[in-house]
């Protein structure tokens, strides 16, 4: 190889280096903080939704981190967040939102997961899907018992569920508990619930619902207690809850939610975060077999396709 040829290579590589630095320094950096663990189905679905948008855009650099079950996970996530110097931060779930709230950087765009049915179109989709499900699952006029928390978001979701039950022509009764008090391992079922255990039971939001290990155990305990007092279907608005004992769950599709929030981060705050219009179904396989004749097969197919079919 001649000296000139080698010099040519060196010059060419230096030009490439300058170009690579120029392209990458101008890239938009997005940090995505997930609530829960990397192996949770909802986190995986959210990840794949966001990734499907961000992967196709070469000038975007995305980094994901999970809060997991650690008590001090937020601190670690904030260290990474700060060192990444992101232009936008996406927080999936209330626990992640709370964590990002502790980060003091006014310049970065913050995108938080919207509350269920936060916009009109999202609300309509949520109510319609729940109404259809209740109509198909509950015979006659009910009753349907709604177990819900007393914070602002829980009450807003309760209203939507009540609207859906009414739309399905079902009688609704409410059992409220203090969000701050639940769930924990020593949690006891409200008397109002114990006195009347017939009909479908729907669990709405119960506060933050972060995925700490103790809260996962508490959820399992809660569902096991509920199964002891009622043989009727136990439904939930949290997709992960079928892995803790709920029979079926219906919520806004996390994959589409991930897509929407990633799109919002890409647009740089020019567009409002649009709640997802699709709904996702999660089912426990034992329950799916039990209602195989009454519930349309589309639910089972949807749950299986999304990996939300939980073994007993």
């Amino acid at each position: 190889m001649t000296r000139l040829w080698r010099m040519g290579w060196v010059v060419w590589f230096m030009l490439l280096a300058v170009a690579a630095v120029w392209v990458n320094a101008g890239s938009r950096r997005i940090f995505i903080l997930h609530e829960g663990r990397a192996d949770q189905v909802t986190s995986r679905a959210f990840f794949s939704g966001a990734d499907s948008v961000l992967r196709g855009l070469s000038h975007l650099k995305a980094r994901h981190q999970y809060l997991g079950l650690g008590l001090d996970a937020c601190r670690q996530a904030l260290i990474q967040l700060t060192s990444f110097h992101p232009d936008a931060v996406i927080a999936e779930g209330p626990q992640a939102r709370e964590c990002v709230g502790e980060w003091h950087n006014e310049q970065a765009q913050r995108i938080f997961e919207p509350a269920t049915g936060a916009a009109t179109n999202g609300k309509e989709a949520f109510v319609a899907a729940w109404a259809t499900l209740l109509r198909e699952l509950v015979s006659g006029s009910g009753p349907v018992t709604l177990l819900h928390g007393d914070d602002r978001h829980s009450l807003a979701e309760r209203d939507l569920l009540a609207q859906a039950a009414t739309m399905a022509g079902l009688e609704v009764r409410f059992v409220e508990f203090k969000t701050s008090a639940a769930p924990d391992l020593a949690w006891t079922l409200p008397d109002a619930l114990l006195s009347q255990t017939e009909g479908v039971l729907v669990l709405g939001r119960m506060g933050g619902g972060g995925a700490t290990e103790s809260s996962e155990k508490a959820w399992r305990t809660l569902f096991s207690k509920l199964h002891e007092v009622t043989s009727a279907p136990i439904l939930s608005t949290r997709l992960d809850s079928v892995f803790w004992g709920a029979d079926m769950a219906l919520d806004e599709a996390p994959e589409q939610r991930g897509e929407q929030m990633a799109l919002s981060a890409w647009r740089g705050g020019r567009g409002e975060t649009i709640p997802p219009l699709e709904m996702a179904v999660a089912l426990r396989s034992v329950f799916a077999e039990r209602v195989a004749t009454t519930l349309p097969q589309v639910y089972l197919a949807s749950a299986r396709l999304s990996g939300l079919l939980a073994a007993p």
């Binding site: 080698r6 060196v10 590589f13 630095v21 990458n24 320094a25 981190q65 650690g70 008590l71 990474q80």
Partner: protein, 445 residues
Amino acid sequence: MAIAFALLASLVWGNTPALSASSVQRLHFLAALASGLCIWIFNLAPPFVGALLALLLMVAGSGLPPELAFSGLASGSFYLLLGMLGVSAAVQQCGLVARLLSAVLRHLPRGARTVQISVLLIGVLMSAFIPSTSGRLQLITPMVNAFARPGHRSALAFAGLSGCTLFSTAFLLGNAGNFIVLGILPAHWQPHVNGLMWFRGAAVYVGVLGALLAVTLLWQSLDSAGARSQTAVLYRPFSADEGIVALALCCLTLGLGLGNFHHIETSWLTLFVFLLLLATGVLSSSGLRSAIHWPILIYLVCTVGFARGFAFTGLNEWIGAHLGVLTSLMRGGQTQFLLWLIAIVLLMRLLLPAVVCVTTICAVMMPLADLFGLNPWVIGFVVLTASEVWFFPHQSTDYLLFRESTGLDSGERACLLRNNTLIQTCRVLALVLSIPYWQHLGYVQ
């Protein structure tokens, strides 16, 4: 024997109707891993052969998808190690290091203590960018031989050996095992771990061990009269190869230093520099075959596959659910857990090679640590560093090679081993003293 073990497990457990499909899959996976362990423990073949066989059996027997099994080929750590091995080979081959060492030593006072400290610092400096311990020792040995005199040969050899080995896990680029840990880290952690983060985490370890090492060296008595020596001074002109390698190192250093500005991952920077060296002919095709340690690269690919396999088969969750003591320690007593981990690794190292300890423990523990809020890097660093601790000659092939190439007599060897026992104990102490610092950083609860 290894294959028979896996086949037997498949036949016995695979046809037991009481086991669920996932349990059978886990057993097949463990049987495949056990076959690799058989090869490692009984030293039937080089470690990478055992690893590759285990991975093959996992794909064939436990349904591990090939894209997961061989995901190591798509991981940044593979290209980082490939690039660094190439850069390191070029640095050694072109004579730049020899020239630099010669220039440094020429201007240093020739006192025995100064030479000893210089040899030590050169070893530490090389640990920052040469990922092969044996490569560093090859470079330091001629210096030790040139300066060593009967009065302080052992002390000088100890300084050279310590400088080249003790801090290798403190620098991301200093040890091939570091790349294995980087590869096994859960995928969402990998982009967060770079050279700066790695060194920051190891800062207390470096500080404590550095101080203890300095005390140990000063404690050794040296015969200053024996320190006068000839240094091989290079007067040949600066070659084009050396110029290109110097430029490549500048690019790499700048790239690493300005990471927060350009956000290009270290692996791609290293690969870029490696390609520059190949394109300009500094590294020839034939040289590439001999200079790159291909077995460690294959091993790296396999270990990443094992880690992904653990997650795929759900073994991590199973371990988390069934080993209550482990998870409760990881959740509520992380300091005690780390102390236990150090002790276990030290015991395992009496029988197993370092790379095997690192692979097996990290593949199991790092994903679990991520679940329980313990920074998985801490697990990797602790396992890596503890597995590098050695007290007996059979535990360190690097020492055996170094001993032969420096030609130490039996008395000098005994003296070196005594000093080594002391400094390896200090190494464990430095590791233990790092735990409060990690708590301060938020890595450990």
